[in-house]
Subunit: 413 residues, 2 copies
């Protein structure tokens, strides 16, 4: 078994080769990956069913088991994802700005690959293919570290992609997977400064927190969402009901689902009883004033307001002013997505200006915070940090820039 250091060094050497590989060759390699995945479909499914059997025996919850499971349809979806990347514009080489200085120096700021991207993920094996191919299109090598429950699946997928790379004349270590799924391997990746250029954790809040607290490698914090809906005193309550039901119930387990409801006191008396009827399957955790209006509510503890339930649960707070709503959000939000429901332009403008989150909505569901919905060709995750990338991250988040300066002997006077 190759160590994290060996793998990271191998990926780094590959990344050096990738710097001079053009768009055509990258697209040919992606096409080769797509057809290799089709060719090896049976073996991949077999490896995955072994993972699933083992996980079932060990009592994995059905919702996680569903994430782990591959089917012919899911493999087709992966392949479609790879095909879409072929269509995507190559981000590398884009000239972002430039000038010719008075002394004749020609300065250009050019988009270049990061080098080596480290991905730490959990049970979903498709992340291995999505991430590796997105990195390849950005001319980055990658070092993948998936969850132990998916190791046979991710190994089958990675080996398949590596065979396609070799067929395309690219180094197989452009895509590396560690077989070590212990905490130590994740930790070693976080310490591999100088070998791994950026680390992207994808998975639970706990995984992301571990990276934030321990990584010496620069990282991008993704996807923890305590998303808020604020129902203003000027809200159209029909819209407010539709948006809340959609944001809370359409897919409660994802990071852009709403977790917290803030309601202006002037409309709470009408809105909350209607909402309870519209989504009876959701358990509400309210403050004292909300409970006074809907006595069947649970009582919210202080922790409830900060919680990312990822479940059919929602906290409820009543406020008397827009500013109180903004302050509540500032206190408890994770900076992912928040929405105001209002017909009042001034309040909408104050909310969008004052709320400091990656995506701030007026009269729309928080569920739209997603690369596909925002019109990005592909998504590597949703950044909740302010440095480098914020919100849904497309392929450009996997690149950096450098200044290339051409001269003719200029010296600084």
């Amino acid at each position: 078994m190759r160590s994290i250091e060996e793998l990271a060094k191998a990926a780094k050497r590959s990344s050096e080769v990738l710097r001079s590989v053009g768009t055509d060759q990258k697209n040919q390699a992606l096409a080769a990956i797509a057809s290799q995945l089709k060719e090896e479909e049976e073996d991949i499914l077999k490896a995955n069913s072994e993972d699933c059997e083992k996980a079932q025996k060990e009592g994995m919850r059905p919702i996680l088991l569903d994430r782990l499971k591959l089917t012919p349809k899911r493999i087709d979806e992966m392949i479609e994802g790879v095909d879409r990347l072929i269509e995507l514009d190559d981000p590398i080489g884009e000239v972002l700005e430039g000038s010719t200085r008075p002394n004749g120096l020609e300065i250009r700021k050019i988009r270049v690959p990061f080098g080596v991207v480290g991905m730490i993920f959990e049970a979903r094996p498709n992340v291995a293919v999505d991430a590796a191919c997105l990195c390849l299109k950005a001319s980055d090598a990658c070092l993948l570290r998936g969850g132990k429950e998916a190791i046979l699946s991710t190994t089958a997928l990675t080996e398949c992609m590596r065979r396609a790379l070799v067929k395309s004349g690219l180094p197989e270590d452009t895509i590396c997977l560690t077989q070590d799924t212990s905490h130590e391997s994740a930790d070693q990746m976080m310490q591999a400064k100088g070998l791994i250029d950026v680390l992207i954790p994808r998975g639970s809040a706990r995984l992301i927190q571990t990276v934030v607290e321990n990584s010496k490698v620069p990282f991008i914090e993704t996807g923890v969402g305590n998303c808020h809906i604020y129902v203003d005193e000027w809200a159209d309550l029909d819209k407010a009901i539709a948006i809340t039901v959609n944001a809370k119930t359409s897919r409660p387990s994802v990071c852009n689902a709403a977790e917290s409801l803030v309601v202006h006191s002037r409309v709470a008396g009408e809105f909350l009883p209607r909402l309870v009827k519209a989504m009876p399957q959701v358990t509400l955790y309210g403050d004292g004033r909300a409970k006074a209006l809907v006595p069947t509510m649970e009582t919210a503890s202080e922790e409830d307001f900060g919680r990312e339930y990822l479940d059919l649960k929602m906290s409820v707070r009543i406020v008397d002013t827009l500013q109180q709503a903004i302050d509540h959000i500032a206190k408890y939000s994770t900076g992912h997505s928040e929405t105001i429901v209002t017909e009042n332009l001034k309040n909408a403008r104050i909310f969008t200006s004052q709320v400091d989150s990656a995506a701030v909505y007026v009269n729309a569901s928080t569920r739209f915070t997603d690369g596909g919905q925002f019109g990005e060709g592909a998504e590597i995750g949703i950044s909740t940090q302010k440095l480098h990338a914020r919100g849904p991250m497309g392929i450009k988040a996997l690149t950096t820039t450098k200044f290339v300066v051409w001269g003719d002997g200029q010296i600084r006077l």
Copy 2:
């Protein structure tokens, strides 16, 4: 004395106010700072001379004492810097991209302030004014932590700026300075995640290394430069001499000064003896082959090739191919600035493509890596990291983005 936590919280509250302050009011506050600095010049110089006296008594080296010292001319330069910021375009509110989606959602990616910028710096008191005013123009509050030897100077400057803020109707805690110059205060800033949005260390390699290793707050790594000059076999040796002398000797103490020379073996025999004559004041540390050509050279140890001397010293390595030069740079560079001297287009293209540094030059001195030289209106530092900003950082490096999305009741289907 207010604690770091109290100061960071005060700065954060100010940053919330700054979100809705327009360009005119920011420029008025900058103008007020400029005239307040002029008004209090005498007091500032007095505070500074106390710092200098104390430092001199304690045996501070002349080069550091010079950095600490303020003069009427240096205060005028600070004021000119503030005036230039007034002229600078306001980065806040710029729409970077946007689209209207098929469902009618109007998505815009907008440049917004970071919030609170933490600056850790050392002996140069002018950094307090430069940094605070650049932050103000970017609508960021700042928390400054300078070196203990400059505390009276930075306090006088900060109090002066705070008086100007109050006169302009802005919160005085837009600019905060800690009086605690211990290691603990720097450490507390590195732990203040959630209060400080980004940390920018400016100073010695050791300070920057401490931040890189310990900060939980996102940071921007700045300014350690082991910059290389590669003299290719196709170099115009006159240009190579001029560039090397300029990059090494014009200001040896700065991060864009060259520290390492890599010379192709075919030209080394002619080039090195000429170079020694052109800059006799520089001590060269050569590998065996270089020493064979210039026996008066010192012998380079392995450490010499990785050293940022910041002095009239330079390491020298002889190589037989361009690839060996690129490999040498990849191994020892800090990713700041490197230059190739060559008349061969193919080699220039390979070098600029393969060398992975913030600024890569053809036939020019590394000394040009500087915000002013690159035509940026102001500079907050030179980033040697790949995330967020790379190379000379202008005011945009002090901003982030958010997505603002306007809808009319849209839900995700």
